[in-house]
């Protein structure tokens, strides 16, 4: 048990740093000398046109894609060196990566067991994302929005202090969007860090306090979001 959650959380805080990161797939240079830092305890919007290298960058942070050079570190170390990684970082990647034959609860249970987390976490995260009623339905019959919620539930299993989200608003209806916005606000309010890639500028503008914009694998702009409209800024630097 933690004596004082606030203090423990501060000690556990996982900063995100990308330094001179490069990745080429064959002849295609997906990420080119990219450097940025995500301030702890902020919601940072990660923006850029399609094919800018956002997903590749996030996957390098999560140890799924190997950088050609440079580094992408969480709390100073690459993902694969994190001790009990799901308790540090939660990730939402594609909405479709579930076995269609498993129920939501079984999927979560498998990840929970693999990560050595307490049994009560499955019910808790299902409740957090509002999927209790669908817990024992097969994922194959889920809508895109429900899959997004299940992905977020999976990310939250380890009670991480950092969330890395790739287009989490995909497939969410207006009510789902509002729910996600409220959820992320509350999450960041607890001092946690969020790095979120999205194309829905109006949505992210309401919650983000920091922005990283990339295009063609390179950094265009990075800094706090203050005053000027996000759409104007985005179109000016990446448009």
């Amino acid at each position: 048990m933690r004596d004082d959650p606030a203090i423990t959380d501060r000690r556990r805080m996982t900063s995100i740093r990308v330094h001179r990161l490069r990745k080429s797939f064959g002849k295609v240079l997906a990420v080119d000398d990219l450097s940025f830092t995500v301030p702890e305890g902020t919601i940072t919007a990660f923006l850029g046109p399609n094919g800018a290298g956002k997903t590749t960058t996030l996957r390098m942070l999560l140890g799924l894609v190997r950088p050609t050079s440079g580094e992408a570190v969480l709390g100073g170390v690459p993902y694969h060196e994190l001790d009990r990684p799901l308790e540090r970082v939660g990730a939402v990647l594609e909405a479709t990566s579930f076995h269609p034959g498993l129920t939501a609860a079984t999927h979560l249970e498998a990840v929970r067991i693999a990560a050595g987390l307490p049994a009560a976490r499955v019910a808790r995260v299902l409740e957090q994302v509002g999927l209790e009623a669908a817990a024992h339905r097969r994922v194959g019959g889920f809508s895109l929005g429900m899959r997004q919620r299940l992905a977020l539930a999976t990310a939250l299993l380890g009670e991480p202090d950092t969330l890395i989200l790739d287009e989490p608003a995909n497939g969410l209806d207006p009510a789902g969007m509002r729910w996600l916005r409220g959820f992320l606000r509350a999450y960041a309010h607890e001092g946690h860090t969020v790095l979120i890639s999205t194309h829905v500028l109006a949505e992210v503008e309401q919650i983000a306090d920091h922005v990283v914009i990339i295009a063609a694998g390179r950094l265009c702009w990075s800094g706090p979001l203050a005053g000027a409209g996000l759409e104007d800024l985005y179109l000016e630097v990446a448009g």
Binding site: F25, T56, R59, L62, G63, L64, V65, R66, Y79, H80, L82, P85, L86, A91, L93, E94, T96, S97, F98, H99, P100, G101, L102, T103, T106, H107, E109, A110, V111, I113, A114, A115, G116, T154
Partner: protein, 243 residues
């Protein structure tokens, strides 16, 4: 390692395909055992060997179970969750080897039992001798062989990653490829995976080509598994997971 093994066990148990294959395999072996029981044979011993060797037919299913267990993760993209929970990828494969080895053992044992019951019942109903001192060895060899095929399936799955491709290649290789090579160069058969597995079952070939002793066949087959797993470890397992 233990949490990963428990997680894999849960996934294996929850998969409908695996459950269907576990149920179908013993039936398949029992049906195959009926054929030689009803056919004329050179001697009672040969007829018995032909009947109980059908327990080895479980190998196709155990191999497919192993391949599905590994490739299914790539097919459905769930490998992302597995590698996020355990970034040391080799451990995920080791956990799968442990679990699908166990599943393979259960399927193989059930299949040997079904072969024994169906074969013995039919042989005695036809008035033939149904049991001999060799039968337990033949069945034990079949169980070991089919279990090892499940492990080979996991190794091939990790190496090839593409589910349909891995199943097609494995079936072609082990159902026809080895036999074709043996037809071209008979002496080579004992060194091929199929020859090694058959040596484990104590099976003798009609063509007269000598197999390795059972322990040699087992070791050789284990070597093939190790080769597949190591190749996967150093070639495909390191690859980027992009979707």
């Amino acid at each position: 390692m233990i949490p990963l093994i428990r997680a894999e066990l849960l996934k294996a148990r929850a998969s409908r395909t695996t459950r269907v294959l576990v149920a179908v395999t013993p039936l398949f072996c029992a049906l195959w055992a009926c054929l030689p029981a009803l056919m004329p044979a050179a001697s009672d011993a040969v007829r018995m060997a032909n009947v109980y060797n059908m327990a080895q037919q479980a190998y196709v299913f155990t191999m497919i179970i192993g391949i599905l267990g590994m490739c299914g993760e790539f097919r459905h993209g769930t490998i992302t969750w597995s590698f996020l929970a355990s970034p040391r990828r080799g451990r995920v494969v080791l956990a799968k080897l442990a679990v699908y080895g166990l599943v393979g053992l259960v399927v193989s044992a059930l299949s040997a039992l079904a072969t024994l019951v169906a074969g013995a019942a039919l042989l005695s109903s036809q008035g033939h001798p149904a049991l001999s001192a060799d039968v337990p060895w033949v069945l034990t060899g079949a169980v070991l062989g089919s279990t090892l095929y499940a492990l080979l399936g996991v190794g091939l799955g990790a190496l090839i990653r593409h589910q349909v491709g891995a199943i097609a290649l494995a079936c072609l290789l082990f159902m026809y490829g080895d036999a074709f090579l043996a037809w071209l160069v008979p002496d080579v058969f004992r060194w091929l995976p199929t020859g090694a597995a058959r040596a484990l079952g104590g099976m003798r070939l009609d063509s007269g080509g000598e197999l390795l002793p059972a322990w040699g066949g087992g070791l050789l087959f284990a070597g093939y598994i190790a080769a597949a797993v190591l190749a996967a470890r150093f070639i495909t397992l390191r690859r980027d997971i992009t979707g």
